[in-house]
Symmetry: C2
């Protein structure tokens, strides 16, 4: 009895394995399961109310297992609590509609955001919380440990060792949390091979391997066609480089997804080089292998890149540039989202990302009415890392600016991370990026969230960069100054037009707001000619033919 | 030539491996090296100026490799840049005195703090920076990647797979960063076996394995003898439980090292139980397996514990309580400092730790004159996790208290981590814990640091708890209030005596300061009788004989 009291998880695990063996007619300990038996396996090992992690992130997806999960009998398997990074595939939501799952803790829902909001309002999904990735992984080790993990790898060997290849991504964090708390780990793989190129996940940690009928789905999320970069984006990129990167001497950084940051990457070997900045900025990156970074790498700007995940088409290029990327002895990349997020949080001096809406406090959100988009990695990287203790010139300078003239606890010297929001004053369909009130507040009410889904808090933002200029919020000393600094770069939006012109000019005199001309940038020089690559073809050429863009990006 | 340009690291790695093979007369690819050849191996693979990680943390130490490193010829191997968690062994400093190493980036130096300060002042060591652990690991993936990692495991198999056993600690982070950037990984192991209990590090990631002549050193750092807990500590523990844990409903937390927190752990099944708090607080922990937690675990208080490292003597107890601890299928624990620090940062609602000095802004430091002690994990866990987005009652309540009545960006609703400093007003030798000026400032000047070595910033501290009461800094609205709140619990220290009595009473009326009697706690009831275990023997008994304290703690 005493033994039983402390062995609940292990005994329950044994029960599940026994059910699986019974259902599949397999001998105990058999790791490989035929794909035709996937649904039976899931029905055998899952129990109602289980916490389940279905792997998927912005690149690879355990899509075969997602489809299999959708086919289980809801009378047997229901009310699962999904704890997963991303809702990307229709199946991720279908399982809620079918009643197989009922509760959700997650990080990002991108394309499924609208349907997610709908299912929440219909009562099909109870959202626990929206997280940033590292936060969700952290909870896997505390109060959200998966009982069953459904993961994905490139290949497995007979013993059950897994090779994830360049898209290691979330797998190590998920598997470690599950396997070491007596959970069940099931991996779909593209193939079973005799000898793996390398071992990414030891067989010990894996219970079942299923060779899926088709290779897993993978999305080229970080590919931006340079042909679509506008001259306004070139202008903003010039301001970022001269007014922020050079000013602070930013050597270690992370870029978000988007054309704005792609433009910066493509200006390094041209515009930034003309400013004599090579070696003085942008040497170390926590970043997926953005194709737009190829020209800067080829020009010798980049010392190192550690990545959350990989990017489709970049495999051969990465393999040929082992000095820059983290690669295994097999030559392919080892990405790791948990470590790269830690790097983005603690070892980077700057995060720059975009947003859909920003309010007068500087709070920003990608939530809009009727879409629950989630956060991804932005909150972790776009927050001041207050546990950081090592200094760098950029961090010290930002911290000094924030504390200048202050007193008390706020005056204790401390560095600060640069958190830049780069955004055009109007986004597509002439929606203003600056608003009096974020849609996030409405979403909070509708979805019953404890707080509005703010992605980056105004408290943490240091610079707002638009085509009109840069507002340095570190130098603001009151709510009113912060509000006017934001209005002062908000262009012709209603928020921008309501600026107090006298105050804004005063902020400009103090260097809180800087226009292109204050930075010595002539907007007429902001042409696409400055981009080191102006098309996908240019990127391929810059890579020496090593970069192989996915079909949909090949327009020649 | 083109190939060469991008293969610098891989070619350099091959050179090192070739030198090792030549020196040892070994065939290429041979992983196992005799311990008598350790120095020769290090001389062959190391190059002047290398960044080297010598593994060691507050528990296990790669002590054999440390000794071997000390024996290399400084004419061949010199000016190493050590990037390591802990300076614990004399050899960690001897290598600087001998000129083998010259630069240091680290996290914690505990017992070697005084000698470290001396070597810095003598110019033997240039300190890069002092980090918190997760921050240092993060830099391993950005700008401080080790070229050579000297790690330690319990055992290896013929292929070179490693078993770390319960003390996995830092190994996965170090090895992943080094191996995947073409560095060299050398592991000392206690033994080579045919079949490992489980695989913690795949052989792919390891270059050389050396069976050391003696098992690696291991320190029982988290063992506190309940016999040494004072009645003042019992009183403070009662205040922590009733005035903070119960008040906020803290379910997920981390405790630092020390008798103060050991007292809290030992009051859970007694005092906290009498308050009806079982199930309402303290269910999930990011914590090493503290022996003092045994009575609470046995009484059914604890749902889960994820650990940074293990604790000597707790092996059999952990093995018998698999529902509580993260263990492998072999039954022994899998600790992981990186993931546990992430858990402490993002998945805990409260951090409580002690300090040596606190100033009037609430900044605290363990740095004293002529000692560079480092930070360990405290900055990461004792800082508000501003990237956090999921809510819990404790976090929401703390955030609401901090924002009540504020305006602008500071008023945007947001949760906040509870960061409690628990400290007696006088520490040993009647040194006051509260000071006008931290010794950290003097140390900054002497050691030439960019910032004073503050462990937890006043900005991040939410509560100061002494035998005189609790100061809730969340409720302070000005520098003056914060100062008086701290003075108001600083007892008979000079800082405490200089309080403004009228203001302090006003803070007490507002609930900013709470005395034991305000909490309904009678100090006369704060006796050692309340402790669930009052001796090491009691802990052993509580564990059903499973806990086996190290010899020095066995006084019966």
């Amino acid at each position: 009895m005493h033994k039983d009291r402390w062995n609940r998880l292990a005994r329950n695990r044994d029960d599940r394995l026994a059910r699986a063996a019974g259902r599949l007619g397999a001998r105990a300990g058999q790791r490989h399961v035929a794909h035709a038996d996937a649904v039976a396996l899931l029905e055998a090992v899952l129990e109602p109310g289980d916490r389940v992690c279905l792997e998927g992130n912005n690149q690879k997806q355990a899509d075969f297992l997602a489809k299999a999960l959708l086919q289980v009998d809801p009378a047997r398997v229901h009310d699962l609590h999904m704890v997963q990074s991303v809702l990307a595939l229709p199946e991720h939501l279908d399982i809620f509609e079918r009643g197989i799952a009922s509760k959700l803790d997650f990080s990002f829902s991108g394309p499924q955001g609208a349907r997610l909001a709908q299912l929440v309002s219909q009562g099909h999904i109870a959202i626990g919380a929206i997280h940033t990735y590292l936060e969700l992984f952290a909870r896997y080790f505390v109060d959200l440990t998966p009982r069953v993990a459904l993961v994905v790898a490139a290949s497995a060997d007979a013993a059950g060792n897994l090779y994830t290849g360049p898209n290691t991504e979330d797998t190590p964090a998920i598997v470690e949390a599950t396997a070491f708390r007596r959970g069940i780990v099931i991996a779909q793989v593209n193939e079973v091979v005799d000898v793996l190129p390398r071992v990414d996940i030891p067989a010990d940690w894996v219970d079942f391997v299923i060779a899926s009928p088709r290779p897993h789905f993978i999305e080229p999320l970080f590919t931006r066609d340079p042909a679509q970069i506008s001259e306004i984006q070139v202008l903003m990129a010039m301001m970022a480089i001269k007014g922020i990167y050079a000013e602070y001497g930013v050597q270690r950084l992370n870029h978000g997804i988007g054309f704005d940051t792609a433009a910066i990457e493509l200006l390094l070997p041209t515009y930034a080089d003309s400013l004599g900045l090579k070696g003085r900025i942008c040497q170390h990156w926590a970043l997926n292998p953005h194709p737009a970074l190829i020209p800067a790498i080829e020009a010798g700007w980049v010392e190192s890149v550690h990545s959350f995940g990989s990017e489709l088409g970049m495999e051969n290029y990465i393999r040929a540039r082992p000095d820059v990327f983290f690669t295994g002895r097999d030559g392919s990349m080892r990405s790791n989202r948990a470590f790269c997020q830690a790097a983005g949080h603690y070892a980077c001096d700057l995060f720059i990302g975009s947003t859909l809406q920003m309010d007068l406090q500087g709070n920003s959100s990608t939530a809009t009415m009727d879409r629950i988009a989630g956060f991804g990695g932005a909150p972790n990287m776009g927050a001041d890392a207050r546990g950081r203790r090592h200094a760098s010139p950029a961090w010290l300078m930002a911290g000094e600016e924030a504390r200048r003239g202050r007193s008390g606890a706020a005056a204790t010297p401390r560095g600060q991370k640069l958190v830049v929001q780069i955004v055009e004053t109007f986004r597509e369909h002439m929606q203003p990026a600056f608003v009096e009130r974020l849609d996030a507040w409405t979403l909070q009410e509708r979805a019953g969230l404890a707080l509005p889904p703010i992605m980056v808090y105004g408290d943490d933002v240091t610079h707002v960069l638009t085509e009109e200029g840069i507002a340095n919020l570190l130098l603001c000393r009151s709510d009113e100054e912060r509000e006017q600094a934001i209005r002062g770069v908000a262009g012709y939006t209603a928020v921008g037009q309501a600026r107090d012109h006298r105050l804004v000019e005063n902020l400009r005199d103090r260097g809180v707001i800087r226009r292109p001309q204050d930075l010595g940038i002539d907007p007429r020089q902001a042409t696409r000619q400055l981009l080191a690559a102006r098309s996908m073809r240019d990127l391929v050429r810059a890579s020496g033919g090593l970069y192989a863009p996915p079909k949909r990006f090949r327009n020649w």
